[in-house]
Symmetry: C2
Subunit: 388 residues, 2 copies
Amino acid sequence: MTQRNPSFTVLSQNYLFPEVAKRKKLFLEQHPGVQLINLSIGDTTEPIPGCIAEELAAAANRLGTATGYSGYGPEQGMESLRTQIANYLYKGIVSADDLFISDGAKCDLGRLQLLFGPEVSIAVPDPAYPVYLDGSLLQGVKKITFMPFTPENNFWPDLAQVKGMDLIYWCSPNNPTGSISSKEQLTLLVAHAKANGSIIIFDAAYAGYIQDPSLPRSIFEIPGAEEVAIEVGSFSKLAGFSGIRLGWTIVPAALKYRDGTSVKADWKRLISTIFNGASNIAQAGGLAVLTDTGMQAVQRTIQFYLENTALLKQALQKLGHNVYGGTHTPYLWVRFPEKESWTAFQEVLEKYHLVTTPGSGFGKAGEGFLRFSAFGHRETILAAISRL
Amino acid sequence: MTQRNPSFTVLSQNYLFPEVAKRKKLFLEQHPGVQLINLSIGDTTEPIPGCIAEELAAAANRLGTATGYSGYGPEQGMESLRTQIANYLYKGIVSADDLFISDGAKCDLGRLQLLFGPEVSIAVPDPAYPVYLDGSLLQGVKKITFMPFTPENNFWPDLAQVKGMDLIYWCSPNNPTGSISSKEQLTLLVAHAKANGSIIIFDAAYAGYIQDPSLPRSIFEIPGAEEVAIEVGSFSKLAGFSGIRLGWTIVPAALKYRDGTSVKADWKRLISTIFNGASNIAQAGGLAVLTDTGMQAVQRTIQFYLENTALLKQALQKLGHNVYGGTHTPYLWVRFPEKESWTAFQEVLEKYHLVTTPGSGFGKAGEGFLRFSAFGHRETILAAISRL
């Protein structure tokens, strides 16, 4: 029989969220009737604004008409959407021509590693969103260095430890720690990448939560980043599109491999080979988000989640916990000293009937933490707070 | 600077369809005012039935309501859709639990190779849809054997030539040749896979075009196939969803690697790691397709395309060409003896102002052929015929 890709044997057996779901299910079987509150998976809960839903519906209806029907779209995505992301969301600091529409940040992160192959060395934040590491392991990457993001280093790893790494994964606003990299920090990161010939894969999925204009929403706010960085963005957390599936990746024309060839050319080849574009309906919805009306509406929802975060943070601090994150991010990173994350998870589950995410699921440096997500209806968050 | 994945260097420089588009554009620049008719890319052209568009729109509108909003869906896809595909479309010969919803056949084909890693040997039809080969090359696969599908072998390759291959890619109804594998042939193929420990990756994207119930629409109509085959299916050509993005992959629980572990378990891990589900709107549309009303409506559109195929076939045969395919498939595979495909492409472009697809773009054995696609409005097909 055919062999198994040996890369699978180095993956941890269970993906984080399925394991959380399993434990939740087990608890409910043992305690029927208990109403659990889920503060675990980072998923939007509020309806998308009416003006955006209407445009999605209109796009669907157009597909039922002879003049409005369209099949496969352009490989890079709808030109109008690329232009609107570049000019409206990025205010012209990136070029629409370097922008590729996708079905979401996670999917693009899974494909990006393929540009570089299994022989490259990578630096991965610890803790981190699992796809950076798991996606790379699946591609056979073996040279991996972890960059600890901890309260002890103020969520700013020692870049000297990742000298000469080919790829550096980075996420700001950070999932799961809720930390934000300042402009000065990203300037240092870009300089480090330049000095070391590294490429930064910058995950900006939560950029929409940044309310302070002095904080960078994109790595491309740093001069010279276009020579050393790829950025992944998403409509999921910006506009509640997590189930609709829409994101983008920016691969600047100035970004080159060691041999001088264009990374962007390979990315174009890659997505035209093994991808077939985001749903045309989702893309029409994305266009509706990127209008003054649309942006005001989605920002109201983001403000709402940020209020949730503030309320939850207060409650956890009152309990005496050290709580990190919670501004410009929907996540709280909560320390449970001298406890393993899964133990703390189980205690919070049993004591408060709250489902959280064990920090250790995001990496070793997440041990002793739980991630609380503030995505939820207000009454859910208030109910969670009253249990604490 | 970071190195390039060496796998990119073995890919041909241009993907087939972009090259066709380039030549088309060049011709139009040199001959302004000429109205080209595109019989090249295999893409649906007719509006989706109203009853399906309405359900897509309704799903979009629901996302704008507090009770109807949903974020990330189940990793394997909506249970109702999986059940409906298994029970209604496959009439129960596959299990909903073995069925995984995706954003399309091409995307899943690109991911499937990852299950087996770069060391496996693969057998690829020649000619074939480019993603089998290119997707495998990108994963670093080096041991590749081509199976010629030609009029000389009645589009049935000598399986003795692919003895002991780990993976066998297969497509029926075939893109690009329009050939169909009979039940007897697929029985031989399954027996071959069993005897050789091979896994078949069966592309059934055009199964909806089969009108003769004695022809197999699925590899799983063959007893025992669940131990040796994976099947990829799609709503693109079945229901005009090419731009909406919806497909599925069946990985039977009975399918095992050489070490006895479950292929399905790895597929589940894989898609939960680097994929995030098909759009919830698209999935709601899929459910609307799989009703009596929906299926009758999409079958009317398929009948329409098949009539196009018959008309075009007649016209090409009148010109004296040997034309293959054209029943139970939207494709015609047309021989241009003693001509290279790109030469024939250019001649048909210049003489008839028709854009076709050069057979050689699908593989060496496609040299001397052009693929004519019968997707198009009736007036377009009739205009093409009048030019011939």
